[in-house]
């Protein structure tokens, strides 16, 4: 029951969740790279989690949707938010190990699609324009490549995180 997540700066989190007597057992690898950190997570009626380890309980909030996980604790440090956000890393990857999906940064309406399947695009070339709250956001190609699939159409409502364009890596596959 392992899932792999990635922070905006590419830091990775490989998290295992296992049903267990009294709660859910969560495990991930500790600082030394070999010790497994393992906690028993009990759920409070308000949805908070209480994580037990070595006789000490620590509260946390964990939320999951299809593509993201948010984790909060009081342990961010004095000038840091205790909430961190990871995006789920899907199995589908290019040969070079690069995520192929160009995703909508927000829930909104697609106002323009500038490419179609098979198009060769250059890095930073506009692919799709999404509008939300009266602001337009231009999604650009993160690298040169070929459009494998266009998963949206102008006028369509899309969720934040939804894959709008699938891009073949130009170097590895093009």
């Amino acid at each position: 029951m392992k899932r792999i997540f990635e922070a905006p700066d590419a830091a990775r989190l490989e998290l295992t969740a296992t049903p267990s007597p009294g709660g859910l057992r969560l495990a991930w690898l500790g600082a030394d790279g070999t010790t497994t950190v393992e906690v028993l997570a009990r759920r409070a009626p308000n949805g908070d989690w209480l994580l037990d380890q070595d006789g000490i309980t620590r509260p946390a909030q964990i939320s999951l949707d299809r593509q993201n996980v948010w984790v909060s604790s009081l342990d961010g440090g004095d000038d840091r938010s205790g909430t961190v956000w990871f995006r789920r890393v899907e199995a589908k990857r290019g040969a070079a190990g690069v995520d192929l999906g160009v995703r909508s940064p927000m829930t909104g309406r697609v106002v323009a699609v500038h490419v179609q399947e098979g198009d060769l695009v250059e890095k930073n070339q506009p692919l799709v324009v999404v509008e939300a709250m009266k602001m337009e956001h231009v999604l650009r190609a993160p690298r040169a490549g070929q459009v494998r699939k266009v998963a949206c159409a102008a006028g369509q409502l899309v969720e934040g995180g939804a894959e709008l364009v699938e891009l073949l890596d130009a170097v590895a596959e093009g």
Binding site: M1, K2, A7, P8, D9, A10, A11, R12, L13, E14, L15, T16, A17, T18, P19, S20, P21, L24, R25, A27, W28, L29, G30, A31, D32, G33, T36, V37, N46, G47, L51, D54, A60, Q61, S63, L64, D65, V71, S72, S73, L74, D75, G76, D78, D79, R80, S81, G82, T83, V84, W85, P105, M106, T107, G108, A132, M133, H137, E159, G160
Partner: protein, 506 residues
């Protein structure tokens, strides 16, 4: 006044309903189809749908709003901020429908809706405006003489232009001639006019604004000042009161300017007179008046100890300021507000819509939260992405700052990204702590950076849940195998981690 229709949405609609309830007045909400389950609907006594999601067809739909007032028997309308709050036609329609408008009379504010007209009113009221001069003599001597009156740095501007076109900044007398020639050339080309003027450019200007109240009996008072210099692309991010760089004499002068301007126009209700404060020259210049309740009104409320919405309601029903503010207005302590926006720091702070999987607003002493959303709520893509305001009061600025940071650390918003990491980072910035900020400071400091985001906090948040000393590096993997003997009936353990979703049964 028995029942007030609130022509707004989000946190301000909730906050106005609370104010009504203090006085035993019923609150009627309006909602668009996108807000059919929204928090401001849940906070009212009654609510009416006024149209589809698009603002123009709902929250700006004057006819539907007046019909909602009629249907519910509301006898007054509170516009909040934004939407129709400064729309003179709507004000007149409200009054024509026999309803009380909770705000200034249309006739008082119509004359100050243009910036130029407002500036003339300010001068008539003896309120300082930024020094400016018409350049009718374009000789070297003529322009130098005008520039001496205005002072450097200054801006040379086409009289008949707009949008900043042709505008030239001049820092030294010897650069004046060239700037005037350039401005003139552009102005002739763009606006077919060679008329120019110069205006003082205020460097490192601070945004200081004065809260005013006027009653229907001719009395106008000020409720001291707020400082809102921390702005991201002209959008206020942190607001506070008092402005702690003013001397008592400067504070008295700027507050009296605000009051005098409001008195000059015969202002009624709550309003805000905005000024630029020049920290070098120690001078303030009139900018404009906002003829409504401001987003940042809670910092004034915290410091002066008065409820401005209740004051609006009592003024609108004809009470005198002497009664509404019995005992007068004094400042105590310091308050700081931050606006929590649903936006993606790593994507140029693009607004975020989505479902709030989980929300925990802070609830500490001396901390106030004005929220438009709670856990489970949808953030529609159609409107402003502000989720809430968090306001902390302290005995002094540092006390308020520490309280606000603690409150932000205890805040949890899952489901959309927010500016909370940036707010925490900038509340800890030495320049902010020292109050050395100006209206351009935040953009210069951060631009599109996303401070406080990312993996360092990520590792802390997860690994610090484990024993101390095990947190640290980033590459994390897991080894535990699927356990046997599960005590709970969860087949897929990941469903247990899914966000808190209320109302599962319906």
């Amino acid at each position: 006044m028995q029942k007030v229709l609130i022509a707004n949405r989000g946190e301000i609609a909730v906050r106005i309903a609370r104010g009504c309830h203090v006085l035993g007045i019923r609150a009627v909400a309006i909602y668009s189809e996108a807000d059919a389950l929204a928090r401001h609907v849940r906070a009212a006594d009654e609510a009416v749908c006024v149209g589809p999601a698009e603002s123009a067809l709902s929250y700006l739909n004057a006819a539907a709003i007046l019909a909602a007032a009629k249907r519910t028997g509301a006898d007054a309308i509170h516009p909040g901020y934004g939407f129709l709050s400064e729309n003179v036609d709507f004000m007149r329609a409200v009054v024509a429908a026999g309803l009380t408008w909770i705000g200034p009379p249309a006739d008082a504010i119509a004359p100050i809706q243009s910036k130029t007209a407002a500036k003339a009113v300010a001068q008539a009221a003896g309120v300082p405006t930024a020094p400016a001069a018409i350049l009718d003599d374009l000789s070297d001597a003529g322009i130098q003489k005008a520039a001496e009156l205005v002072g450097f740095p200054l801006l040379v501007k086409p009289q008949d232009g707009g949008g900043g076109k042709g505008m030239q900044r001049v820092d030294r007398p010897q650069d004046l001639r060239a700037a005037v020639d350039t401005a003139k050339r552009i102005s002739i080309a763009a606006f077919a006019s060679d008329k120019l003027f110069i205006e003082r450019y205020v460097e490192d200007a601070r945004h200081v604004e004065v809260q005013v109240l006027g009653d229907t009996h001719g009395t106008t008072v000020h409720c001291f000042e707020r400082e809102c210099s921390v702005q991201r692309r002209h959008q206020k991010v942190i607001e506070e009161s008092p402005c702690n760089v003013l001397t008592d004499a400067e504070r008295a002068a700027i507050c009296e300017s605000g009051r005098a301007f409001a008195a000059q126009v015969g202002y009624v209700g709550a309003g805000t007179v905005e000024f630029l404060f020049d920290p070098q020259r120690r001078a303030h210049y009139f900018l404009e008046m906002n003829t409504r309740l401001q987003v940042e009104h809670p910092v004034s409320e915290a410091v002066i100890g008065a409820d401005l919405v209740v004051a609006q309601l009592r003024i609108a029903r004809g009470e005198k300021l002497a009664d509404v503010l019995q005992g007068g207005v004094t400042q105590r302590g310091h308050a700081i507000e931050v606006r929590i926006y649903a936006e993606d720091p790593a994507n140029g702070y693009a607004p975020q819509a989505g479902t709030l999987l989980r929300v925990r607003w802070p609830d500490a002493p001396f901390v106030r939260v004005d929220a438009g959303f709670e856990g489970g709520d949808a953030v529609p893509m159609h409107y402003d992405p502000m989720l809430a305001k968090i306001i902390a009061w302290g005995r002094d600025r540092e006390d308020a700052r520490l309280r606000l940071m603690a409150a932000l650390r205890e805040t949890v918003v899952h489901g959309v990204l927010t500016n909370i990491p940036m707010l925490l980072a900038l509340l800890a910035e030495p320049a902010y702590v020292a109050s050395e900020v100006h209206t351009g400071w935040l953009d210069k400091r951060y631009g599109n950076e996303a401070p406080g985001m990312g993996s360092a906090a990520g590792v802390t948040a997860l690994a610090a849940l484990a024993a101390a000393g095990q947190g640290g590096p980033l590459a994390v993997a897991a080894t535990a195998q699927a356990g046997a003997g599960a005590a709970e009936a969860t087949t897929d353990p990941w469903t247990a981690l899914a966000g808190w979703r209320a109302g599962g049964a319906a």
